[in-house]
């Protein structure tokens, strides 16, 4: 979320690669998607992927996540929540993948700190 938000501002205010309709309802949809749904989904997927032992499975999951990011942007454009301009749609996935890298780094950092705190891998139950 901390990385996702500035990226949207960069697209919207700095580069004008997206334009948004002057509608509060559309703004709410955009905010809920970018601030809640997208970060939650990315963090959940990465948390699950990190415990996968096989590299090929992890790589496939990362590729699928990138495809999902692109699909999210494309759908927002189709539904009129945002409108991509210029290189917007082309650069959307590469720049948004920074979110993926940041989420990966933060998940790894927290797991490392958990080990430093004396909590081993897979000891936390989800119940």
């Amino acid at each position: 979320m901390a990385v996702n938000s500035p990226i949207y501002s960069y697209f919207l205010v700095n580069r004008h690669w997206i334009s948004i309709p002057d509608s509060k309802e559309m703004a709410v949809i955009r905010i809920v998607y970018t601030e809640v749904l997208s970060p939650l989904l990315l963090t959940w997927v990465l948390d699950e992927v990190l415990v996968q032992k096989r590299f090929s499975v992890r790589a496939a999951c990362y590729a699928a996540t990138l495809a999902l990011i692109f699909l999210g942007g494309w759908l927002l454009d189709r539904w009129g929540v945002v409108k991509f301009r210029g290189n917007g749609l082309l650069l959307y996935t590469p720049i948004k993948s920074i979110t993926l890298i940041a989420a990966l780094c933060s998940a790894r950092l927290v797991r490392y700190l958990m080990r430093k705190d004396g909590i081993g891998h897979g000891q936390i139950s989800r119940s």
């Binding site: 979320m1 901390a2 938000s5 500035p6 949207y8 501002s9 960069y10 919207l12 205010v13 700095n14 948004i20 309709p21 002057d22 509608s23 509060k24 703004a27 905010i31 970018t34 601030e35 970060p39 933060s106 950092l109 927290v110 700190l113 958990m114 430093k116 705190d117 004396g118 909590i119 081993g120 000891q123 936390i124 139950s125």
Partner: protein, 165 residues
């Protein structure tokens, strides 16, 4: 020609540096993983606000004079986790429970609002329809959420430690 940073950047940089020095000097009290998660939450929530209600079509305020995203935002972002960490550090140190939580949250919301007023005076924030009264309400809600998340994290941490000594 060399352009010196404006007063807002000096203000953010000073409090960013002073805050992190203070965090480093404080004795380690909380589990590292819990501290990191509290800091991430304290960074994510205000950033989420800055880039939702701070951009069109809502656009209630600008950060750091220029509405565009610039490197001058970095020290401002660096102040947010320090604020959240100190809030939770003292909450834990003073062992605040029951109705005292409400008093603590209201007190910290006053501190946060006063600091924001100072930041506004130094042009770190420029209001365009926002008000310090709204900030106070946001601080109360965010700090209550932070307390709830911290208690949940500590509950999971203590339970896991007990189960795996």
């Amino acid at each position: 020609m060399v352009r010196f940073p404006e007063v807002n950047v000096w203000f953010s940089t000073f409090f960013f540096a002073a805050g992190w020095v203070l965090v480093a000097l404080l004795p380690l009290r909380l589990p590292r993983s819990v501290s990191a998660l509290v800091m991430m939450l304290s960074l994510a929530l205000p950033l989420g606000m800055d880039h939702t209600i701070g951009v069109p079509p809502v656009d209630m305020y600008d950060t750091n004079v220029n509405p565009k995203l610039t490197f001058s935002e970095l020290p401002t972002w660096g102040m947010y986790p320090v604020f959240g960490y100190l809030f939770i550090y003292l909450y834990d140190k003073w062992n605040i429970k029951g109705p005292a939580i409400a008093l603590y949250v209201f007190g910290w919301a006053i501190v946060g609002t006063a600091f924001e007023a100072l930041a506004v005076a130094f042009h770190v924030f420029r209001y365009k329809g926002w008000s310090l009264r709204y900030s106070y309400l946001v601080y109360v809600l965010v700090q209550l959420l932070t307390v709830a998340v911290f208690r949940l994290l500590m509950h999971v941490f203590v339970r896991t430690k007990k189960a795996n000594p």
